[in-house]
């Protein structure tokens, strides 16, 4: 690891998993383009980038937690909950309160992350189980709060602008994703917090013995995951111009898949943001190609699983080879 870290600091090393996934994206585009020529038109490509921004933002949030060797399964209802909170506040009569819609939604995500982080850091409960329980509670809370109906209110105008608008012909959603990505790269590579994420993922005990505040890093990572999931929820609410029950449910598996096929180890400690970015693009393109092919939902789901599995097997065999 030390040799790898030194190489990363001193020189450029090809990011093999990210390149493989990017190659996969190109294969998907070319393959799709042969069957449907509209695939390679600028408008279709821009639309894909716009849609990929939602998954990309969620994956950006999921990555720090996965780097720690933890996992956040409360993403779906953090997304939905934040969207419900924001649309509810935006639908109030008081114009002052309306401006608080976005902070309220993001604050909701931060709060969920804070609770997850504290419990995982202090009580050492496996995050997989705890966040599962939190997800169940958030679901229950949302159902109870809304009475099981479609949540009332409306999407805050700024989220509609971010999700649907264009600047110089480029979707704002994609630009937002790029901004989030730039911040993530800085965070992971140039801050102490980012370096600790990798270090804790590799050997938590050693980092603790070295005197680092392991607990705070864990709480920070979960809060980041919560805020970014909430942000993605706000973008989704803007995109659909409403919040709805279960809007986050289809995103959990693709989010984890995007991070993992991008080369981030699910055990923590290893992975590049470029891989996560490429992974989100790949999954979005794959889902899009599968839906354009007009196959039954069941076949799409199977092909999705098989392709993800194939990529994981290729990656696993590549790593298992003695260097």
């Amino acid at each position: 690891m030390s040799a790898g870290a030194a190489a990363r600091r001193t020189g450029w090393r090809p990011d093999v998993p990210a390149l493989i996934v990017l190659a996969g994206c190109i294969v998907l585009l070319l393959g799709g383009g042969i069957v449907f020529p509209t695939f390679l038109t600028p408008s279709y490509l821009l639309q894909q980038l716009q849609i990929a921004a939602f998954l990309g933002t969620m994956a950006a949030g999921a990555m720090p937690v996965i780097l720690l060797g933890q996992i956040d399964l409360s993403i779906p209802w953090t997304i939905t909950g934040a969207a419900i909170v924001a649309t509810t506040v935006a639908g109030l009569d008081d114009p002052v309160l309306q401006t608080l819609a976005v902070p309220a939604g993001l604050g909701f995500g931060a709060l969920v992350g804070l609770v997850n982080g504290i419990v995982v850091a202090r009580l050492r409960i496996p995050s997989m189980v705890w966040t599962l329980a939190v997800n169940a509670m958030l679901l229950g809370g949302a159902v109870f709060w809304t009475g099981g109906h479609k949540p009332r209110g409306l999407a805050p105008p700024i989220t509609t602008t971010l999700a649907l608008g264009h600047t110089l012909g480029i979707p704002n959603a994609f630009l937002t994703w790029l901004a989030v990505s730039a911040a993530m790269v800085f965070l992971l590579r140039r801050t102490v917090f980012g370096r600790y994420l990798y270090a804790i993922g590799n050997n938590e005990r050693a980092v603790f013995l070295a005197g680092a505040r392991v607990g705070r890093v864990i709480v920070g990572a979960f809060m980041l995951a919560g805020v970014l999931a909430a942000f993605a929820g706000l973008l989704l609410a803007g995109y659909a111009n409403q919040a709805y029950q279960g809007m986050g449910n289809p995103y959990l598996m693709p989010t984890i898949a995007a991070v993992v096929i991008g080369g981030t180890s699910i055990l923590g400690g290893r992975g590049s943001y470029a891989g996560t970015f490429a992974g989100a693009l790949f999954i979005t393109l794959l889902l899009s190609v599968l839906s354009v092919l007009q196959l039954p939902e069941a076949v799409r789901q199977m092909l999705f699983g098989l392709i993800i599995m194939a990529m994981l097997v290729v990656d696993g065999l590549r790593r298992a080879k003695p260097a």
Binding site: I71, V119, R122, L123, R124, I125, P126, M128, V129, W130, L132, A133, V134, N135, A136, M137, L138, L139, G140, G141, V143, F144, G147, G148, E204, R205, F208, L209, V214, M253, I256, A257, V260, S265, I266, L267, P296, E297, A298, V299, R300, Q301, M302, L303, F304, G305, L306, I308, M309, L312, V313, D315, G316, L317, R319, A320
Partner: protein, 317 residues
């Protein structure tokens, strides 16, 4: 004794919850009430035992639910006709489950894919297959067989008997055979187990295959209880099977615990949701309280960490 404490706590909790359930059930203690309770518990109990085997070898199986759904759908096609056809059909369903489990095991052992992501992907495939076979719930199960397996024998729920027999049948060999002990060894320290000549690959493959078989048993029993095949039942089984295993005192870090623990955890979860149902809580509030109870149970199980003399002990891997 100390090692068994989580299981004992879980048992006490189960007995207390069961007493509450009987206490508030409008029909009180009767064969009918206990049979319903036991049938519901059996569904999740079998899935939890499936999850246990994979957790034992330090894995996690997110495809438990999809395999339950797939085998349930398969049963709705295969378990009917004359006696021979029914027996063959049930065998075929179990073989299908074993094959699903082996596929997971192969991805983990030979391709070195991490269990959580391997079963995430394979779960999508199994779930898709189930949906392809039955886009809408339907099919039938042999009536006589369904009655035979879901009522009671001289006042004892048949499902309880089945559960106990199956649990004993897997718990005893687990501690007494080479392959069973290998699973514990692989779960505790895979490297050490490999160096001492334990057949790591065989132990893991067996664990995943057993998980497939028990998922298939759960799928079959769902078919007996509901008399249909339904591809939509997957998510609840995956998540609840993990929760059940943890509640039953089986650490996700592997190498510890027994199928009995997983079963007790599953029964606790089912009893909690039954108590909720009869407690007079507004129905819309029930999902929240089920989540809350799960969170509190996990919380109590972990409270010991706060009493550790050194924080360092909390970072043991």
């Amino acid at each position: 004794m100390k090692r068994n404490r989580p299981l004992l706590l879980a048992l006490v909790a189960l007995v207390a919850l069961f007493a509450v359930y009987i206490g508030i059930h409008p029909r009180g203690f009767s064969v009918y009430v206990v049979t319903i309770w036991s049938n519901q518990g059996a569904l999740l109990g079998l899935a939890a035992i499936a999850q246990f085997f994979v957790v034992l070898v330090r894995g996690i199986d997110l495809s438990v639910g999809p395999v339950v759904a797939l085998t349930n759908v398969a049963a709705s096609y295969l378990v009917q006709g004359n006696t021979a056809e029914i027996v063959l059909g049930m065998l075929a369903v179990l073989v299908l489950g074993a094959l699903c489990g082996l596929a997971n095991g192969a991805a983990v052992v030979f391709a070195r894919v991490q269990p959580i992501v391997a079963t995430l992907a394979s779960g999508a495939v199994f779930g898709g297959l189930a949906l392809l076979l039955r886009p809408v719930p339907g099919g039938t199960i042999d009536d006589d067989l369904s009655d035979l397996l879901t009522y009671d024998i001289y006042g004892v729920p048949t499902s309880l008997v089945i559960l106990l027999v199956l649990t004993v049948a897997v718990t005893l060999p687990l501690r007494r055979t080479r392959i069973g002990l290998s699973m514990y060894a692989v779960g505790s320290a895979e490297g050490a187990a490999f160096l001492t000549g334990t057949r790591v690959a065989a132990a893991k493959l067996t664990a995943y295959a057993l998980a497939g078989v028990f998922s298939a048993l759960a799928g079959l029993y769902v078919a007996m209880v509901t008399q249909t095949g339904d591809a939509g039942i997957a998510p609840a089984y995956t998540l609840n099977s993990i929760a059940a295993v943890v509640l039953g005192g089986v650490p996700l870090a592997g190498g510890l615990g027994s199928p009995v623990g997983a079963l007790v955890g599953a029964l606790i979860l089912k009893t909690v949701s039954s108590v909720m149902f009869f407690s007079g809580l507004p129905p819309l509030a029930q999902p929240f309280f089920e989540g809350l109870v799960l969170a509190i149970a996990i919380f109590i199980g972990a409270i010991g960490v706060l009493r550790l003399r050194s924080r360092l002990d909390a970072y043991q891997r």
